[in-house]
Amino acid sequence: MSTTNTTGSKVRVATVWLSGCAGCHMSFLDQDERIVDLAKKIQVVYSPLVDTKKFPEKVDVTLIEGSVANEEQLEMLKDIRVKTRVLIALGDCAVTGNVTALRNSWENSDQEVLERAYKLSEDLQAAVPNMVPKLLVKTRPLHEIVKVDFYIPGCPPSADLINYVLTELLVGKTPIMEGRARYG
């Protein structure tokens, strides 16, 4: 799958942070000086690291960290899929659900976690807040909701692996994960 865009300008890249710990973004930054090389070829159009509020149109590559745990993220992911050519699941939460999916073992896990977090651990005026997006009953990895083009597992994925996948894609090659993918 080629990522070189038709106009010959820089490749438009977005990174998104759903239900995750930001560790994958830390690992992305951990590419260190290689980011300088990347920056010559890519333009980051949306990210927790830049100040863009709305997900832009016509993004070439989107890296998504974290799983889909609430309704807001669900809508966001569907919207991103429409506006992105190559969607990459970044890290174990996006690929498998990882720690954020541990709650799935409980039947009404959306209620159970809120009870645990806001009621059982409080003595005074314990109440579940109602201004946050509604949790989904089960936390889902990205590919259970939209089509994902590439997966970079790892908790977090190593900076080397992220760099490998991005550089391969930038030259129009398909990254080979055999022997490179690494869970946990």
Partner: protein, 236 residues
């Protein structure tokens, strides 16, 4: 094996001679051809449960588990093909989707054979919907703990307990995906009167299902134990 006769077969195009009765897996291994396995452990009775060692035999549309299929004279075996690779990846995905396999919070992270095989075979995601179980965790024993949510039902622990330690504390109950490893007649581990606390079950567990509390996982998963078992097994 009582017979001394030798048979000749081809594995991945290489002519190999082995004593009659040798399994395809062993014949391949002795000649430097590594077939991925999970339930197999040298020294334990072959089980054929994980289906990772499936191989192709020319002339048969079926796939054969290399660990339980004896090598036959004139056999032509393929241990690595696109078809096998796909089946192996699928087997890993099924194991990973059956129970809660979350490497980041597992005691065996980085020392897990399931994780290592998934990485090696390039299983970069699980195509099946994952099943989040709530199987009972038993930490009633002094130092041995079993988290059944991480169990892949390879039965290595049961076989080592039965064949090597000679106790048979461990066994299975129920069937299919509800199968559970149990102690004695489904007692708490701490109440088991037959368990000798030899720790072999934890040592052979390929994942983080049985582990030893207060011991570093590198110590528990020490590979020397496999050699120890083989040595004990052959001294009859």
């Amino acid at each position: 094996m009582t017979t001394n006769s030798t048979i000749t077969l081809k594995i991945d195009g290489v002519q190999i001679s082995v004593p009659e009765g040798t399994t395809i897996l062993k014949a391949a291994k002795n000649n430097g051809i590594l077939i991925p396995t999970l339930c197999d452990l040298e020294g334990l009775t072959p089980y054929g449960g994980c289906r990772l060692c499936l191989v192709e035999v020319t002339g048969s549309p079926k796939l054969f588990p290399a660990c339980t299929t004896p090598a036959n004279s004139g056999m032509e075996v393929t241990t690595n093909s696109e078809r096998l690779k796909n089946y192996r990846k699928m087997a890993i995905q099924m194991l990973m989707s059956e129970r809660v396999h979350i490497c980041a919070v597992c005691v065996a992270n980085d020392h897990c054979e399931l994780q290592a095989l998934a990485n090696q075979l390039g299983v970069d995601h699980v195509a099946f919907e994952r099943n989040f179980t709530r199987e009972p965790i038993d930490s009633s024993h002094g130092f041995l703990v079993i988290d059944r949510n991480r169990c892949i039902l390879c039965t290595r622990c049961i076989r080592v307990c039965d064949k090597i330690e000679g106790v048979h504390t461990l066994d299975l109950k129920k069937r299919s995906k509800n199968t559970e490893v149990i102690m004695d007649l489904d007692e708490f581990w701490g109440d088991s009167c037959s368990c000798t606390g030899c720790r072999k079950c934890a040592k052979v567990c390929p994942v983080g299902a049985i582990y030893i509390e207060g011991e570093a996982i590198t110590q528990t998963k020490n590979r020397d134990v496999a050699e120890f078992i083989t040595a004990r097994r052959n001294r009859k």
